[in-house]
């Protein structure tokens, strides 16, 4: 199945442009997610909303950003993924792998094992601070 061909057709031959837009959106939402998490963990009063609303929006925007991130990641993995040179290309793959490992750990903790709540701020921070794959692209 030619995933890249399909995505390229869907984006009118501008797949790279849409990848840039997608990753920019994910980066923006990631920053917003940190603010919302800080709000419902009670360490910030910004943004000015109730703790319940902050938690709800954190979940909604998190899923939206994950959906976009997965599409972008698939277009990387099905397309140019593989080269280990130059270094920034290698780092792109390493950090992309790390992001999905952290996501797997986070969802395993909160949705499957229903434990480790105290670890969530650390996991969320690690996710945000992992050098974003787009930055190494």
């Amino acid at each position: 199945m030619d995933i890249i061909g399909l995505l390229n057709d869907l984006t009118g031959g501008n797949l790279l442009l849409w990848k840039v837009l997608g990753t920019t959106l994910v980066l923006f939402l990631a920053g917003l997610q940190v603010l919302l998490a800080a709000r419902f963990w009670g360490v910030s009063t910004v943004p000015p909303m109730t703790v319940g609303s902050a938690a709800r929006w954190h979940r909604i925007l998190g899923r939206a950003s994950l959906a976009v991130a997965v599409i972008v990641a698939v277009s990387c993995i099905a397309g140019p993924a593989g080269p280990t040179s130059p270094t920034r290309v290698l780092l792109h793959s390493v950090f992309g792998t790390l992001v999905f490992l952290i996501l797997a750990a986070k969802f395993a903790l909160i949705r499957v094992l229903h434990s480790g709540d105290r670890l969530l701020p650390w996991i969320g921070s690690a996710l945000f601070l992992t050098p974003d794959p787009p930055l190494t692209d």
């Binding site: 993995i77 593989g82 280990t84 490992l101 969802f107």
Partner: protein
């Protein structure tokens, strides 16, 4: 196990699969078989087409007869260029995904992608 937990287990497995896909692609791209195919193409088995894929020109070295038309096809998701290393030489301009560039070769060419400088290639003349 209730239905929702099964769903979330699926999500976790999906994320793990995405995490494994990157290293798997790296292993696949660096298998010796790929190098052998490239070498075969460089010996003339690949015809007069140079593909741009996985941030590389394939074959990296192509030997053709003088006057042969070589087609450069961008099969990557990233844009590339075919630019002579010597100033004022061949320059395809930016080739977006799916675009190609045709060049009638009348002299050897050392070229590079100016967007990804690690991408280099050579065209040699036979005979």
């Amino acid at each position: 196990m209730d239905g929702r937990r099964v769903l979330w287990v699926g999500v976790v497995v999906f994320f793990l699969a995405m995490a494994v896909a990157g290293p798997a692609a790296m292993v696949r791209a660096n298998r010796p078989a790929g190098g052998q195919a490239e070498a075969a193409a460089a010996d003339g088995g690949g015809g007069s087409v140079v593909k741009m894929q996985n941030i590389a020109f394939v074959p990296a070295t192509l030997t053709v007869e003088r006057g042969t038309e070589v087609v450069f096809e961008n099969l990557d998701t990233a844009p590339h260029t075919v630019t002579a290393k010597t100033p004022g030489g061949v320059d395809s301009g930016t080739l977006n995904t799916g675009k190609s560039f045709r060049l009638v070769v009348d002299q050897p060419l050392d070229y590079v992608c100016t967007i990804h400088p690690s991408m280099t290639g050579k065209i040699l003349l036979s005979g």
